[in-house]
Assembly symmetry: C2
């Protein structure tokens, strides 16, 4: 067994070869279909090998001079036209053997994943005729290419955590909304989590929702007030955990 200093010399004389990488960005793009109370994720059909014809998360390889975040926004813009969204970095998957091309190309493929939440109602999918693209209910996603099921699961977990202490919902709800809209939104993402009445009482007490005075009637029943999110009034609650639960 070599001593530590011997090993160090050996390292200098015959240093381990470094890996060369291509870096990909894969997005887990979520939206909430408030009409049907379903949480959706955007999938695309692969057009090339490997995994030709299989569904996967929209992704791209990072170009020269492009930042990771730029790349994330670029594929997003290539797949959907959307005005309101929230996006953040998720996790980096970089093990060897995660991409079959590695064998032939002699480079490793690393994936920096991002997760995004967009407003479903005005997210217009860009179907270019050739490539398949679709919203899938998260509960019904098929087997995906690469390790994308793992990325998706990770993104879903993060989304749930994020909702509990961060006002991302308002990035994605319409400008004005009823308290029931908000409640439905939380329920579809988190599952049952609280009584409506208490949800309502808690949020109104916090005081960052402004009653616009306007009302909407949806079928039978008493018309609901429309509220607006007040970012300034929310400021004190930044990084205070569990505001919404």
């Amino acid at each position: 067994m070599p001593t530590r200093s011997q090993r160090k010399i050996a390292d200098v004389v015959k240093p381990q070869p470094l890996a060369d990488f291509k870096v990909g960005v894969d997005n887990a793009i979520f939206s909430v279909d408030t009409a049907q109370n379903r949480l959706l994720v955007l999938l695309v059909m692969r057009q090339q090998q490997p995994f030709l014809g299989q569904w996967c998360l929209p992704g791209t390889l990072v170009r020269q001079g492009e930042s990771l975040e730029d790349a994330a926004y670029r594929i997003l813009a290539e797949k959907i036209r959307v005005k309101n969204l929230y996006l953040e970095q998720l996790y980096t998957f970089g093990g060897p053997y995660r991409d079959p091309r590695e064998e032939t190309d002699k480079v490793r493929y690393l994936s920096v994943s991002y997760f995004a939440l967009v407003r479903y109602e005005d997210a217009e999918l860009i179907a270019d005729g050739v490539s398949g693209i679709a919203w899938y209910p998260v509960k019904q996603v098929p087997q995906l290419a690469f390790d994308h099921n793992e990325i998706l699961a990770y993104g879903h977990r993060r989304l749930k955590n994020k909702l509990e202490y961060s006002p991302v919902a308002f990035d994605v709800l319409p400008e004005v909304f009823t308290l029931n809209d908000l409640y439905q939104f939380y329920t579809t993402v988190l599952g049952e989590f609280s009584d409506y009445s208490n949800f309502r009482a808690r949020l109104l007490k916090l005081g960052f929702l402004c009653d616009t005075g306007l009302k909407v009637s949806r079928g039978a029943g008493r018309p609901a007030s429309l509220y607006r999110f007040n970012a300034t009034a929310f400021a004190p609650f930044k990084d205070k955990p569990l505001v919404f639960i």
Copy 2:
């Protein structure tokens, strides 16, 4: 202005060149000096250009066949001998121009950062005579090489969050400890956050700390009970937030 289909054709004819990457792993390694109530981070002195002679977080480039996590554990093992530790991925910094070598080498340098918490008392620094290596109080770190101050700040934030809802402290405290040890630990990382008496009452009620019956006397005063963390009893509190505050 080209239409979208025109742009698409242009892309196929003259696709944007992809970036080639080397991937580094940088670790923000924390420990708590319970004797002096200081939160420490491990820094090393750079031995080569760029940033020769400047402090930075311990890092390494990823080798062929090595996973990111493997690389993170490797530099950790090169710098300190330690038995008990917690380690998780932090964030990936991958913008262009973050490493000056980029200009000459024609490759991008991407950094996947990890953060680790180790037991200070038995973390033995591996000083090989040449390279500087030292624990720095987090509040007194100097200007670091690259974007490592940013990585450190991010890691510090994560550490604080982690402590609040996750039993990482017990990965790093001795097998048995007094409630005061535990309280001091939390206080040094989080700052003042609660009355000792209430901290004590809350934790004991949760029931995952077992009184060993043993006592220690530290100077004057009544001897304190030694407690042991019971992982099984903690299980129900997994992913329940704010257990410790």
